[in-house]
């Protein structure tokens, strides 16, 4: 993909950009108003400081909102993503604008909606109004309110009892360096519905810094099954902020996987609310840092009902002088008896200068629960390395095999072969 520095009209991050964007996307009045309200919150909210607990190890002092441009039209051209994967639907969104979109007609015939959020605001206003921003309101914070003001993205609706057999996928790309993009995903799976969704964020490396502030809200209805995968492969100079929230109703199951490879800086908040009895949530995360990359993963397993199960596993590999912070909270609210909640964070350091901080937290207000958390940070076991080298593998190949093995339980959960293969190639490139 070519990175162009000019062409499409842009504005700075501003109220004007919010209004122009909403107009360009042909959105109804209520959505435009929501955006403008969010903008007000953004402006009124101070930028987080490192004195705030959540940001204590997360340095955004070099982030300058004034340095980015908001594309207010679609790019003149884009590089279509080629893939042989079998999917029921695919959309490619470049700089916030839908460039390509398809949904299998037989899936649409079952009442499944897969469209841009702007279109859905017109075609399905009731559903969108009910769910959009319900999990991540403006009050969530500075970045969330910015996304609520400027985000464009996809809407997925699966009616009760409908099973979408093959995955749906959205690819968000950023085609102009120096620009700001705001990917957004809203998934609503009604009772006993089932769907797999993959978000991919991608851009090439560039000299000028870019910004991505994304939000995803995922609703899993009673007895519904949702799988959600987010693959962050931004180019090297992108600041990535992501707020992702899952709500799982009674007996629903949400399995999510967040993969972070790109960007100069990446902060992802991934939260799950177990809202109905018997809800089940699997939260997996994979990150791989090299050079000076920074990754922050902030997770919440919020048990708001009894008899729920949540299992979190985040694994990171860090090379060179890259750094990561994982902070995870299991919260068991009063009355959420028979909670089963597990949290594990494992980090492998491939250099003496890489660093991983792991901060687990439990906040338990019920007395009949099973909770555990574990964390580890350390280098590759030298005896494992020696064992593989003693079979003829170079040090690099031995490390690669160990890293592959470390990630294996997560990679096997990726439902698309093409995505798995690209990931494997990206990991290989990162191994140097």
């Amino acid at each position: 993909m070519e990175v162009r520095s000019v062409e499409t009209p842009t504005l700075g991050i501003s109220r004007d950009a919010v209004a122009r964007l909403s107009e360009r996307l042909g959105e109804p009045e209520w959505l435009r108003e929501r955006r403008l309200t969010a903008w007000q919150t953004f402006e009124a909210t101070p930028t987080p400081l490192m004195t705030d607990e959540e940001w204590r190890r997360t340095d955004i002092r070099k982030l300058d909102f004034g340095s980015f441009n908001v594309p207010i039209d679609a790019p003149a051209s884009y590089e279509p993503e080629s893939s042989a994967d079998h999917r029921n639907g695919f959309t490619q969104i470049a700089d916030g604008y839908v460039m390509e979109h398809r949904l299998e007609p037989e899936v649409a015939a079952k009442g499944v909606v897969f469209s841009s959020l702007s279109d859905a605001a017109t075609t399905h206003p009731d559903i969108v109004q009910q769910y959009l921003g319900a999990l991540i309101p403006d009050s969530y914070g500075k970045f969330a309110s910015l996304a609520n003001a400027l985000a464009a993205g996809v809407f997925v609706y699966v009616p009760a009892g409908v099973e979408v057999e093959l995955p749906l996928q959205a690819s968000f790309t950023l085609s102009q360096e120096g620009s700001a993009v705001f990917p957004r995903t809203l998934i609503v799976a009604e009772r006993h519905a089932s769907v797999t969704f993959i978000d991919r964020y991608y851009s090439v490396d560039a000299d000028t810094a870019s910004l991505s502030v994304g939000v995803a809200e995922i609703f899993t209805g009673e007895g519904a099954q949702v799988r959600y995968v987010n693959v962050q492969e931004w180019g090297r100079n992108v600041w990535n902020f992501m707020a992702q929230k899952h709500r799982v109703e009674r007996d629903g199951q949400d399995r999510n996987l967040n993969i972070a490879l790109g960007g100069r800086f990446s902060k992802a908040n991934v939260e799950a609310e177990l809202a109905g009895s018997g809800a089940n949530c699997e939260m997996l995360g994979l990150f791989f840092g090299d050079e000076t990359q920074f990754f922050d993963a902030h997770t919440l397993q919020d048990h708001a009902s009894p008899n729920c199960f949540s299992d979190l596993l985040y694994k990171g590999v860090l090379r060179d002088t890259s750094r990561s912070v994982f902070s995870g909270l299991i919260r068991v609210r009063p009355g959420s008896q028979k909670t089963d909640a597990y949290q594990t964070n494992r980090n492998l350091l491939l250099s003496d200068h890489a660093r991983a901080d792991s901060i687990p937290n439990l906040e338990i207000e019920a007395n009949d629960v099973k909770c555990s958390h574990g964390a580890s940070v350390g280098p590759i076991d030298p005896d494992q390395l020696f064992y593989l080298q003693a079979r003829g593998l170079s040090r690099r190949d031995a490390e690669r095999l160990i890293v592959d093995g470390f990630f294996e339980p997560l990679i096997t959960r990726i439902p698309l072969e093409g995505v798995r293969e690209r990931l494997s190639a990206a990991i290989d490139a990162k191994m140097g």
Binding site: D381, P382, D383, Q384, F386, Y387, L388, Q389, A390, R391, G392, L393, S394, R395, D397, A398, L401, I402, D404, G405, F406, F407, E408, P409
Partner: protein, 270 residues
């Protein structure tokens, strides 16, 4: 007459190919000297056994030969096919044809046996300037070698040594050896943890591989294994040195008399 025979024998020994020559090898582990001037020569195509009590330095020798970074060679030389290997990394030694069957093989979670074996075989081939082994050829060879070791096909999908029983680990080591076809196979206590049936299978595997080319160094502190893998020479390692060597009968003597007489006869400090 006697004189003449001796000369012939000496010349014969001198010209006989040595796979490995170790001279005055000193090895430290965590700054403690474990090998204290060890000398040993291994003849090409022969099976040598090293016996010695627990803690005498047998595993230290095998790790030092394989190039483990924690085993620091402070003096001496090790020639493999006439070439000094002490400056070579463990991967280069393996590529040159040295194989160590570990006393305690490591498990590598998430890495399947099949994937690992393919990586190992191809790493060695590439180092020799050969291309990767083609997949059908690899499969065929693997199937044959596994059958010979009475290993179930399901092994291939399992993670390397992960959750393997002691016996399974040892079998897996010999399978790796069978796939890599080394010139020198060092087997460190391969018999420990094996029941008699497994011992027979593993020994048959090694005996089949031996042929004319492979030199074998069997390390053990029991004579039992040597009933199955018959040594041409037996060396006794005590207190970091080879204190005496002999033929297969030496192993039987050690079995019946223990090590104390060796200590007394060769003045090894207790």
């Amino acid at each position: 007459m006697t004189e003449l025979t001796r000369v012939n024998t000496d010349r014969e020994i001198a010209t006989m190919e040595k796979t490995l020559v170790i001279r005055n090898l000193h090895v430290n582990v965590e700054d403690k000297e474990i090998l204290k001037g060890l000398d040993l020569e291994l003849e090409k195509g022969k099976t040598h056994a090293i016996m010695g009590p627990n803690g005498s330095g047998k595993s230290t020798l095998s790790y030092a030969l394989a190039g483990h970074p924690s085993y620091e060679v402070t003096a001496g030389e090790v020639l493999f096919e006439g070439q000094d290997i002490l400056e070579m990394g463990p991967d280069e030694r393996a590529q040159a044809g040295i194989f160590l069957a570990f006393q305690y093989p490591m498990s590598i979670p998430g890495v399947s046996m099949a994937n690992f074996l393919r990586s190992a075989v191809n790493s060695v081939r590439r180092a020799r300037g050969e291309g990767d082994m083609r997949v059908p050829e690899f499969r065929k060879k693997l199937t044959e070698r596994m059958a010979a070791l009475k290993m179930d096909r399901s092994f291939m999908g399992r993670y390397l040594n992960e959750g393997f029983s002691g016996g399974e680990k040892k079998r897996a080591e010999i399978l790796q050896m069978a796939m890599l076809e080394p010139k020198l196979a060092i087997m460190d206590e391969t018999d420990s943890g094996l029941d008699i049936d497994a011992l027979r299978v593993v020994s048959d595997g090694v005996n089949t591989l031996k042929g004319d080319d492979m030199t074998v160094l069997v390390i053990t502190h029991y004579q039992r294994l040597l009933n199955y893998i018959k040594p041409d020479y037996v060396h006794v390692l005590m207190d970091g040195r080879i204190v005496t060597s002999g033929g297969p009968e030496l192993a039987l003597e050690l079995e019946s008399r223990g090590y104390d007489w060796v200590r007394a006869e060769f003045a090894v400090p207790a």
